[in-house]
């Protein structure tokens, strides 16, 4: 569908949903940064109905080639509604349209959050020390609220509850994935063995975002305005979200600020405690930081695979494949540090 046709089809759809008597498209453009789905910013002038006046929406559609591991738009919409209902700062989910006659694919409409998601701006000096610290605390509160959602939840039945522990499920998945690709990755095999041998006690499962990191949230004037990109959400160990956010891969050069290059774990953990009454176990989070490196390595392998197979020739995907040694190097260092701390020495 041509861009202008798409804009007016979406505008008409929203006018019907809000019972507006008239609608005018003020602005419409494609947002960057969605490999799996297409996102559009849509500004409308609505007359009458439930949302009169100038409104700013984001429309999220399925892209033609979905990644099998991620949620569909209807599933993602259901997760977003749960998170919104639990008081997590997310874009307000408005309407899901599963009728493919409207624009040719499923989509949903949500409110547009103010601010920026750019890691370069957020890590690169836009925030003061105090703002970074408060933001890390807010991350903790947001995740704490999200982690209050526990299975079973009607409306989220499509999310499979892992049969074993969350860690075991991840390890098995990544082993299967490594076995299926036709190239050796000894460091990743070694790291998976370590993850298998050092699994934390199986704890309660909660709803986890599973991709909450710098780049996937919006910040306006030092405040988080929306957690974005819910397509990997699932039932997991709550420490997975904390570990992913703290992974070395997402600090964008600010290595000393271990929470996404923004703030410190003490802030993150105290925010988490404010929301849940529980302090996260630092060892458990560190375990999931190692898991995060393995997971990012798996994603990099998949992205490189899309380029190598000819499915999607892309310099960016190709270069992501060459990032693998970075994750491997961090894995070797971090596992060695963890082992030394426990006195089961793998010397450096």
């Amino acid at each position: 569908m041509a861009q202008s046709g798409l804009a007016s089809a979406l505008a008409d759809y929203i006018a019907i949903q809000t019972h507006a008597s008239h609608v005018q498209v003020e602005d419409f453009n494609r947002l960057s940064g969605g490999a799996i789905q297409d996102n559009y910013a849509l500004s409308l002038l609505l007359e009458g109905g439930d949302q009169p006046g100038r409104q700013h929406y984001v429309v999220r559609c399925d892209a033609p080639s979905g990644v099998s591991a991620s949620l569909t738009r209807p599933q993602e919409f259901a997760v977003l509604k749960q998170a919104f209902g639990a008081g997590v700062t997310v874009p307000q989910p408005f309407w899901l349209c599963d009728d493919k006659r409207v624009i040719g694919q499923s989509f949903y409409v949500m409110s547009r959050a103010a601010g920026t998601a750019s890691p370069q701006k957020l890590v690169g000096g836009e925030l003061s020390e105090a703002q970074g610290s408060e933001l890390a605390r807010q991350f903790g509160r947001e995740l704490g609220r999200l982690h209050q959602i526990r299975p079973p939840v009607s409306g989220l039945a499509f999310l499979a509850v892992p049969a074993g522990s969350a860690a075991r499920t991840r390890i098995d998945l990544y082993r299967d994935y490594l076995a299926a690709i036709d190239e050796p990755h000894p460091v990743l095999e070694w790291a998976l063995n370590w993850l298998e041998d050092n699994q934390p006690d199986s704890g309660p499962l909660t709803l986890c975002h599973c991709d909450f990191r710098t780049g996937n949230y919006m910040v306006d004037q030092g405040r988080l305005t929306a957690m974005l990109d819910w397509e990997f959400a699932t039932w997991s160990d709550p420490a997975e979200d904390l570990g992913w956010l703290c992974s070395r891969s997402w600090r964008f050069g600010a290595d000393d600020r271990e929470v996404g290059g923004i703030g410190h774990k003490s802030d993150l953990f105290s925010g988490y405690e404010e929301a849940t009454g529980e302090t996260p176990d630092p060892n458990r989070v560190a375990y999931w930081e190692v898991m995060a490196l393995v997971r990012w390595a798996m994603i990099a392998l998949q992205q490189a695979g899309r380029h190598l197979s000819g499915e999607q020739s892309s310099l960016e995907l190709a270069l992501t494949g060459r990032m693998l040694p970075q994750m491997e190097y961090d894995l070797l260092q971090q596992i060695s540090e963890r082992s030394n701390a426990k006195g089961t020495g793998i010397p450096l």
């Binding site: 050796p184 000894p186 070694w190 063995n193 290595d255 310099l315 270069l319 070797l332 020495g345």
Partner: protein, 122 residues
């Protein structure tokens, strides 16, 4: 003696310099990012050409030495694939210091090609 000159590495380096000196100043925004990515890819390819087969040979030598010591019966056909397999099957102990050192050396040599700055930053 090679008769096709300048050689591949020289061509790549010269093309990359051209990209950075003449094209980069003329573009902005997303295009700038595309040019920098292209220059980075050419830099990596250049380093790989320069290293030649020596990096892979060094890794293979390291793997053979480890096998000679730890799994001599499998040393003849040892390579990166058998290393990965034997780690997964736990034929090589995960906490073995020599194994760790080998994995670190292999990873360092890969980083020296793909992103040497990463080694300095850590």
């Amino acid at each position: 003696m090679k008769t096709s000159r300048p050689e591949a590495g020289d061509l790549l380096a010269t093309a990359r310099q051209e990209l950075l000196d003449t094209l980069l100043p003329e573009v902005s925004g997303a295009l700038k990012y595309q040019v920098l990515m292209s220059a980075n890819a050419m830099k990596i390819a250049g380093r790989e050409i320069e290293a030649g087969v020596s990096t892979e040979q060094q890794a293979l030598d390291g793997i053979r030495r480890l096998y000679a010591e730890l799994l001599p019966e499998s040393a003849d056909n040892a390579n990166e694939q058998s290393l990965a397999d034997d780690i997964r099957r736990r034929r090589l102990a995960n906490d073995n210091a020599q194994l760790y050192e080998l994995l670190m050396n292999i990873t360092r040599s890969k980083l020296l090609i793909s992103n040497p700055k990463y080694l300095k930053d850590r």
